[in-house]
Symmetry: D3
Subunit: 151 residues, 6 copies
């Protein structure tokens, strides 16, 4: 059976940390679906459509990776795509506590779903979407932190 | 002297985690006042009045438990109700650091007030009001996580 | 029914942090039993008998507090003394994770046992038995950190 | 060479915790520039101009300390003032993880910049700008927590 | 290519927490090698040979799982067995910080090695080998916490 | 007045993490004394004399750095060398909680002593003396992790 994993997130924006996790995830999974969550009530900095189209270009040469967007529960998107795995990166202990809670709730909602965690590499440990947005807002060059071009 | 504890929170919504803490709190205190804090400048998801009326039904058979709402400092509500204890649950280390700071400030404002902490049970550890709101927003069934009916 | 709490620990030595927790515990419990755990396979720095006899003097004027020693499971000592509560102090997030695990196992072994946690006061936050032993070993004056005289 | 440090923050408001860190920072640095960051898109509770003018009074007798405001990247302000150090206080492990990330990004943006951390004193550990704002909003007396008069 | 994972640990003893992680690991890997590390200079409570023989019985019906013992670097054992993955469970933030460091060093020693983390289930979160040893030492029944019989 | 800092530790062994902190410390202090603590009751892996002599070679070209050994309280060594600063690196939140307690006790024992913390660089975050000892014990090449030759 093919191992399909969902890599969910708001990706506002998608960073090199995310990029590394997806690529290492290919060692484990046959197919990875990057799922960009958006929420009509929560304002984004980078548009979902922009992130999605750039990500498709970034991963164009890797047919095992696809990109989708969603506005529902993560577990529902996973079911819809026959994904029985979630893929997540862990950076620090604050991340950890949050992910632990989410994992437990996801297991309640979809018991067949298994979340697989990889440690973020040291050089990406400090990169969060929040920090990248701050840098971008102040006109700093963010190309060092993201695989996508925002020009 | 009767031991009176305030159980303060925004309870947006009141979860099974809160429910369990209140019930175990009855082993310690003679009277527990559930105090639903609201803040005119901060938007809620569930209405205070709705939560309050449902909670009164939930605890109708337990005369030691009462329900109130407030829009002031927690320590002031405690004083008003002659409560010399606060009751709080602890889920994880993020909670812990927050509660430690609040406890210290409360002691400054009302030195006679003692905060008593109970550990959340493993099965409730992942349930937070924030997660329950998210689930509700996406139409998931939350009855498993809350003692109140939201129909 | 009388509320009896066990305050277990190795107390090697008993510090001002412990002292403060016991005293504040009296606001909650009718009786507190300080239970000094020792373990024949683990070497102590201060003798159990010395700590026990000093503690009896320290709390001589408080009939609600008694002192005992034990070499068994904490839950078994609690049962033997009809204690349905454990009393514990929390200093930092490392403490917290440890106490959370112990609490869960204790509930397995003795479901009627409830552990009540109080936050250590800021001025006692840094005082651990380990640090006090280190200071004592190097000849520093530890009277500032312990309620007991070690002369 | 003169050692110049920037002490950046939103200081909404400037607390006794901040005050203590700046004063202890003078043991290390020849000059400290308190830099009040503001962000046109994020609403403040206390006005930047008010905080700045009060801080100038508070530190009027200490010529090594100056006060400025900024609306750009912290590293850019540091460069502008020839500051090769940032000064930051650490209160708890949540603070710590955040500061660790920021430090790493700052090193990327400005490799000559070194961030120096001091531990917040126990008596100030619980004081955060967020808590002080809450207290002020509910009419509590905050003079105990801030070096500035808000009358 | 077959996905082979090493599940290393001292397993003194092997707990239900470990058992659950191995079983869930089978959803990801084709083969899992449980590797019991021992260290001639560090005293164990349960004998390696005993744990190994019991584990072989426990997993006798699962040909994808094998059991080995080792006295070398974990990365060297992984290489020897052609394992390109390590499997590890995460219980709490103390675990997390430790695992993060080990992961980084392992990547240095063996760059092709990827460590996959699964969250321990809530009901196993409190079970550590250390606690189980303590319980056993005091004569408590540990069958609830371990898949192996120690009779 | 000259700014003298003590950089205390057991340095068993001295790692690249320590090396980096000392070097960055020179940006702040006029003189840094590396103080290798040893404790007759605690067994070391690398001999104090060996570490001391190698460190002297490593820093031979930097006259601002000296090396000493001690068997007393850290604060007493600091006093003896007229050091009014301690220099310490911070790697993770477990480190942080420990350092916070030690800092508070040190302030009690020697109020004029200020501890200055620097964040360990990402590439050194995983390197601890404990891990390096483990690697060495199993015959791994540790030259990547330490500035000293152990041949």
């Amino acid at each position: 059976m093919k191992k399909i994993a969902l890599f969910p997130g708001s990706f506002d924006p998608f960073t090199n940390g995310h990029y590394d996790i997806v690529n290492r995830g290919l060692l484990i999974f046959d197919q990875i679906i990057i799922a960009i969550g958006h929420n009509t009530t929560k304002k984004r900095y980078f548009e979902v459509a922009k992130i999605a189209s750039e990500l498709k270009k970034v991963f164009a040469h890797k047919p095992q990776i696809s990109v989708t967007t969603y506005e529902e529960l993560t577990t529902d998107v996973a079911k819809k795509h026959n994904a029985t795995f979630l893929l997540r990166g862990l950076r620090n202990s604050t991340d950890f506590e949050y992910e632990k809670s989410i994992d437990q709730i996801n297991k309640d909602l979809y018991p067949e779903l298994e979340t697989v965690f990889l440690m973020t590499k040291p050089e990406n440990m400090a990169i969060s979407s929040t920090i990248v947005r701050e840098l971008h807002k102040f006109g700093a060059d963010i190309t060092k932190y993201v695989p996508i071009s925002f020009t």
